[in-house]
């Protein structure tokens, strides 16, 4: 009998195309997602070397980082010259190399990590890579998914493989039930608060436990999306009925007999009893509160009921980092987090730009108005999410409350398009990074769940959503 394996072990073993004596492997890649920022140099490299894309049918490209989110964006004048060149380069490369492509004009266009699952490209047991760190999102399906650099993008385009060494196994278990008002975003931030941004370095995380099982696919994607913020190569959740239900009928999911065959295989994708994990972290679902970040690292997480810490609360290099963060964020140690006034609310991104996130916001703001003077923007993760939100009447709720209802893209998550914070502008954001300058030069970001962002829009300050519903 073979030794018990983790889910990661199983997916890894199923994708090794070649293994050298020192353990360096060629890992076969089932899906390669491509966007406009990290791919132009890779396609250019292929062109220079006279190489082709090895498996264009497994390669899916979509522009997302640079695209404007306002109406009439087909007009090139809406983009800066440099952004336009990148988007046009992707148009050209997709055509020349014959890969699947969703241009800006296609209703299916959106953030690459939302487009992949939505169209059935991402399926359980696959290996998925993209020149983007938030590729971890796709781990929600029980697929091994991680970000790669541009040299590796070129390597995958040319060979459909990656040179890899296996990571260690880490288990993150969330036991029990979540309390009302606590969401997948709070889980993933709470885990990073516990482990630190370097805590997952060298590991692939498998998230498990009742609170994870209870999540929808949208929630699971939110959890896995931020595995990278904990330093892990990838985050995984074993597929189950929730996963199959989500995948069934998607455009590129298998049909008929192939579907039955696929599900039969997917049912083997779980961690065997007694399999070894190199590190285990356990949180009680009941202990997780709605959280916010106070600093400039995703590990700077506290419950909304807390106060801004003091640099002296930390040790080692973190003392100086915390001092710098507090100054950058314009906060005072001891200040109540729920007293922090905000200027802007951003709802969207590959972390929280899915339909369930839109519904969560609508539930909080329905029939209410956002606080006067607050700039509040909702950017759906894809054209399909936008269409569904409109069909469900959510867009009307948002606009009646005073939100701007935008077209799909990465938008203010990383502010490569015109959606940016100005100096010292403070934002409650459903995105994934609160780094210095992330949402705009000297902009100040507080990471929160969609429900918490909605609450902040109504009150004009960081707010415990439980007080409003």
């Amino acid at each position: 009998m073979t030794a018990p394996k983790t889910l990661y072990d199983k997916i890894w073993d199923a994708h090794v195309a070649h293994e050298a004596e020192d353990g360096t492997c060629l890992l076969y890649i089932d899906r390669h997602l491509v966007h406009e920022v990290t791919s132009p140099q890779a396609f250019e490299g292929l062109r220079m070397a006279g190489r082709k894309v090895h498996a264009p049918d497994k390669t899916i490209a979509v522009p997302d980082h640079n695209v404007p989110t306002t109406a009439g964006r087909e007009d090139p004048a809406q983009m800066t010259e440099e952004s336009r060149i990148q988007v046009e380069a992707l148009d050209k490369n997709a055509k020349e190399f014959g890969v699947h492509y969703y241009p800006v004009s296609d209703v299916r266009q959106g953030i690459v990590h939302i487009v992949g699952p939505e169209n059935g490209w991402t399926l359980p047991g696959m290996t998925v890579v993209c020149g983007d760190s938030h590729t971890a999102t796709h781990g929600a399906f029980g697929s091994l998914a991680h970000g790669i650099g541009t040299s590796e993008v070129e390597h995958v385009l040319a060979t459909q493989t990656l040179i890899q060494k296996k990571s260690l196994n880490m288990k993150v278990e969330i036991t029990g039930k979540l309390k009302p008002g606590v969401t997948a975003k709070d889980i993933t931030l709470a885990v990073i608060g516990e482990t630190g941004t370097g805590g997952g370095t060298g590991y692939v995380i498998e998230y498990c436990g009742e609170a994870i099982r209870d999540l929808s696919m949208e929630g699971r994607m939110t959890v896995c999306n931020m595995a990278i913020e904990g330093g892990a190569r990838a985050g995984l959740i074993a597929p189950d009925e929730t996963t199959y239900e989500y995948c069934k009928g998607r455009a590129h999911a298998p049909k008929g007999a192939a579907w039955e065959q696929a599900v039969e295989y997917w049912k083997t994708l779980f961690t065997d009893e007694g399999a070894h994990f190199d590190k285990v972290v356990t949180l009680r679902g009941e202990d997780i509160e709605p959280v916010v970040t106070w600093g400039t690292s995703p590990e700077d997480v506290l419950p909304i009921t807390g106060v801004v810490p003091s640099p002296e609360d930390f040790e080692g290099g973190k003392v100086e980092a915390a001092r710098r963060s507090i100054e950058y964020m314009g906060l005072t140690p001891g200040q109540k987090l729920s007293d922090i006034e905000i200027d802007t609310v951003f709802i969207g991104s590959c972390t929280n730009g899915r339909i369930e996130d839109m519904r969560a916001v609508a539930e909080v703001v329905k029939g209410k108005k956002i606080k006067e003077g607050i700039r509040a923007m909702i950017v759906p993760g894809s054209g399909l999410v936008r269409a569904q939100a409109e069909e469900e009447g959510l867009a009307e709720i948002f606009e009646a409350a005073g939100f701007e209802w935008r077209l799909a893209g990465c938008s203010m998550c990383l502010a490569m398009n015109p959606d940016q914070l100005s100096e010292n502008e403070r934002c409650a954001s459903t995105s994934n990074r609160n780094f210095e300058g992330r949402q705009g030069y000297k902009g100040r970001t507080h990471l929160v769940s969609p429900a918490m962002a909605a609450a902040a829009a109504l009150t004009g300050k960081l707010t415990d959503v439980r007080e409003l519903v």
């Binding site: 076969y28 040319a158 040179i163 060494k165 370095t201």
Partner: protein, 201 residues
Amino acid sequence: MEKFEKLQGIAAPMPLVNIDTDMIIPKVFLKSIQRSGFGVNLFDEMRYNRDGSEIPDFVLNKPQYRDAEILIAGDNFGCGSSREHAPWAIADFGIKCIVSTSFADIFFNNCFKNGILPIVLPQEQVDVLMADAEKGANARMTVDLEAQEITTSDGVSIAFEVDAFKKHCLLNGLDDIGLTMEKADSIKSYEEKLTAQRPWV
């Protein structure tokens, strides 16, 4: 790719922890479709005022560190995005080796693709190198990849670990894609097996 064999150069100290890729190269500079020219914007928001003038306190603006080729950095260097523009900017500036207690995974891999050697050492040894780097331009360190050894200006030697395959590629400036293409038969036979076993892929 340029070979990395032995380097003797000035080391600059950057003790701040969690230096992320947005600090290394802010996104406004990711719009180029070239691989070169990013060095001038390395650490842009820490290095320059809004009007483009230099911030004198920033380590790489200090006269003694302007020609640094080695960076001694705080924990979890390179966390954040997968942008290879980060190592491109570092290499373009002239830095060829970074030492820290830990690196973010994707950044670490990206370095090796660009002739940069990232070295992981325990805190005590990073502290020794940080103190040496604080001495300024006269403190020139030597990094010998073949021997896997760093020597400080005082002659203190510190051994380091590096993956054998990555070392081989760096020492010889090898192109990964060429190496992988030599294994085309393995990839082809894997694909045949895949078609039989998981046809929906």
